[in-house]
Every structure is written in C-alpha cells, then in structure tokens.
C-alpha cells in the first residue's frame, strides 16, 4: 500500500497545490486508459487529457493505481506479444 507522508507538511503542500477545478477519482478513471496508452507509447498526452496528469499529481491513491496499471500492461503486452502504447 502507498503511504502518504503524514502531518502538517503534507497537508499544507496539498492545500497550496489545490486547483479551482480538479477531476475526481472516478471521473479521472474514465480517461485513465487513454492517458496510459500515451505514456506506454512514450508520447506526451494531449491537452484534452491534462486533467488526468493534474489528478495524478494530487492523489497518491490514484498514482499508485496508475503505476500498477502501467506494470500490468507490460505483463499483458508480453502475454499478447504486442508493443506497448499507442
């Protein structure tokens, strides 16, 4: 499990980095696969997926999930004998 840095420092850093509009954990997940494909292919995701990157910068739980998805896709692509990404 990912451990968040506890205490005042983490809390204040999160407060400073807050954006007026952010995707929630479920909304972000709708675009996760598209974002992951760009990253797996070594390409910069387009601006339309900017909110996914912003969410990952601010949500440790989703960042952990994203990293696991990238790992899982390596396993899936090895299994399928396909190159990763788009």
């Amino acid at each position: 499990m990912a451990e968040r840095n506890p205490g005042v420092k983490a809390l204040v850093e999160q407060a400073l980095s807050v954006l007026p509009q952010e995707l929630g954990c479920d909304s972000y997940a709708e675009y996760l696969a598209a974002y992951a494909d760009y990253r797996l292919g070594g390409k910069m995701p387009p601006d339309s997926l900017k909110g996914v990157g912003e969410h990952l910068d601010r949500c440790d739980a989703c960042l952990e999930e994203f990293k696991l998805l990238l790992d899982a896709m390596q396993g899936a692509d090895n299994h399928l004998g396909e190159p990763s990404g788009r």
């Binding site: 205490g7 005042v8 809390l11 407060a15 400073l16 998805l69 790992d71 396993g75």
Partner: protein, 184 residues
C-alpha cells in the same frame, strides 16, 4: 478478443503488477473473473480512445487494488483512521521546536482545521493523511470516490484561503515547509 483470451491477458497483467507470490494465484484469478464481469457490464461505455486491452486492464487493476485496500483496512474504524493522521498537539511541537515561523504556520493550520472545516472534512482529511485510500473512506461514510475527493479538495481550498488570509505567501510557506522535513 474472446473472453477466455481476455481473462488470460488480465491474469498475466495482474500477476506482473501485483506479484503472484505476495497474494497467491487464487486472488488474482478471482480478481480477473470479477473484472471480466464488470468489463462485460460496461462494454457499451468503451469509447475507443484507448486500446481495448488497456481499458479492460484499468478496470481489473482498480478491482484488484480496491480489494486489497479494503482487506487491509477491514477492521479499522474511520475514527481510528482519522486519529492516525492527526496533526501532533501544538504543545508537543512547541517543546521540540524553536522555529517561530513554523509554529505560526502550524497555529494557522490548526485554527483553520477547527474553525473552517466541517466534521466530515476533518475526519476525511485526517484519514487521508493517515494513508487511508479514498475507496475505503467512501465505503465508511457511504459515498463514492468522487465525493470523497470533492470533500478533500474543498477542505484543502479552505485551508489555502486561511493560510493566505493570515498573511502568508506561497513562497514564505514553502520556505517554512522545508523545516518540516525534520520536525513535521
């Protein structure tokens, strides 16, 4: 891709990501099966903006991780979770800390937590600080991950407003935060 092939692909991916040795093959097989049901259920929502296998694996990864997180926090109440993330009492910090700027900032944060946040925001933000994942918090308070994120987002925005209203700038706060590496 046939369902049996998709299932085998999910198992291969989950095994790579989560490691069969840590969780056992049965758990991974179960998670792949559970994910397969969800994938079939949601197939109409696949928009085609990613590879199908990536979309399916995202569902499987979330299913597996959520299962592990819920199991990890199964017997812990939200109050206990929140208590683990509590900011240390001011008195405890004062006795160990001679940095007045740090104390001033801590006091602003503590006052804002007490006065500006709702009880549910306080509980949620403290549970989150303790490392409790959003799906577990959501389950405990009877909502979804989006609502938990909104709760935390609004709480952070209130803290930010309170800090800036107290005369701090982002630069001055970040300067003080460097000292929290050893005292936070």
């Amino acid at each position: 891709m046939a369902l049996a092939d998709l299932r085998a692909t999910l198992v291969a991916g989950l095994t790579r990501a989560f490691g069969q040795s840590d969780f056992g093959s049965t758990l991974i097989e179960d998670a792949a099966q559970e994910a397969l049901v969800r994938i079939v259920d949601r197939i109409q929502s696949f928009r085609g903006d990613s590879r199908f296998v990536t979309w399916a694996m995202a569902i499987a990864t979330r299913a597996m991780l959520s299962h592990l997180r819920r199991a990890h926090w199964k017997n812990v109440s939200l109050d206990e979770m929140a208590a683990a993330g509590l900011i240390p009492p001011l008195a405890a910090v004062v006795s160990n800390d001679e940095n007045l700027d740090r104390l001033r900032l801590l006091e602003v944060v503590r006052t804002s937590i007490e006065n500006d946040l709702t009880e549910r925001q306080r509980q949620t933000i403290q549970a989150e600080l303790a490392g409790v994942p959003p799906e577990v918090i959501a389950e405990r308070i009877g909502t979804n991950r989006n609502a938990v994120y909104k709760l935390v987002h609004d709480a952070r925005a209130r803290l930010r407003r309170a800090i800036l209203a107290a005369g701090w700038t982002e630069t001055s706060v970040r300067s003080v935060l460097k000292g929290f590496d050893t005292h936070g």
